[in-house]
Symmetry: C2
Subunit: 196 residues, 2 copies
């Protein structure tokens, strides 16, 4: 039910390119002219597919969200290993981002520009963080009960720590241009919730 509607070839290329550039530069630094140049078309053609820039933004945000949440397993009660696997799967898109030298999380970039975003994007960004926090909280809570994780304090607090750490690391990594920046961070996070 969260399927993104299929797009034509040009619309697909537009969303891919726009997403890539926003993840590098920010929403406000990517123009229709940039996209037109990249795809070898005119800016007017872009408006046929996406009448306003905010339409492009919304489409790209939805696509990104689908991708980021696609590896999340439904949190049905299971054994300890199933929770550890779910945690690892949650990290798959993060590891993918970690390897990209000059990109960072689309939602993080949009969040940085929050006050300048059109309303729809603002709402989408807020919701992304809310959904992520809820999932992580349930994962950590259930996982601790099942013996998969060990940590003090409530699961929601740990969920916020983990979400923040990942987001911050992906952001800093881009400025440092170091594709290995996150290696130790992912290890450290695991050690924090799976000591010993």
């Amino acid at each position: 039910m969260n399927e993104t509607k299929p797009l034509g070839k040009t619309a697909e290329a537009l969303t891919d390119t726009f997403m890539e550039l926003v993840m590098e530069r920010g929403y406000n630094a990517v123009s229709y002219a940039d996209l037109a140049k990249r795809l070898g078309i005119r800016t007017a053609s872009i408006h046929y597919h996406f009448p306003a820039k905010s339409d492009l933004g919304m489409t790209v945000l939805h696509r990104y969200q689908d991708g980021a949440f696609s590896t999340l397993e439904p949190l049905t009660p299971g054994d300890a290993q199933s929770y550890r696997d779910a945690f690892d799967n949650m990290l798959i898109p993060v590891r993918s981002l970690a390897k990209m030298q000059s990109a960072s999380c689309l939602v993080g970039v949009l969040g940085a520009e929050f006050a300048s975003l059109p309303d729809g994007l603002k709402a989408g960004v807020s919701q992304f963080f809310e959904t992520q926090q809820q999932y992580l909280t349930r994962l950590l809570s259930g996982g601790r009960d099942a013996g998969a994780f060990i940590f003090d304090g409530d699961a929601e607090a740990m969920a916020k720590v983990i979400a923040s750490t990942l987001q911050g690391a992906i952001l800093i990594k881009k400025s440092r241009g170091d594709v290995h920046y996150m290696d130790s961070i992912l290890d450290s996070l695991k050690a924090i919730i799976m000591p010993g």
Copy 2:
């Protein structure tokens, strides 16, 4: 030696306003027109004080950096409590940021827009993160030796975790509009390096 040169009254107001707006919207979403309107002057007057936008950006980044690092104590060997105090003092600007509903860290915002920044700002942002990581690493390393902190792994890895967590939390907080978002995160971080 890191003193920022004194500015006139208008230049001061310009840097304050520019910093505030960038922390809310991002560098590319703040224009000379925005500043002129706020201060009740013309855009041409701004160019007298800061010929190019990148000049404004550099001045603001330096000011921000001076503020963020102003509470850092020189890391001379001391007892455990002195390291805990130094950690708390490092957090003073962070706590200040946490209270601002619609702003996030200037350097984080610039980092999100990295690829679109003028070269001077790129270099400044990279350097900020590098300096912060070096300080935190020394603080954690010395503090662990002095018995102030307890954690596994090397100090640099923990420094990266802490810097990333703070940066990510400040970013997410803005999108969530929750001035209490970071409360539990600061508690959790302390619990991670000062268990028990």
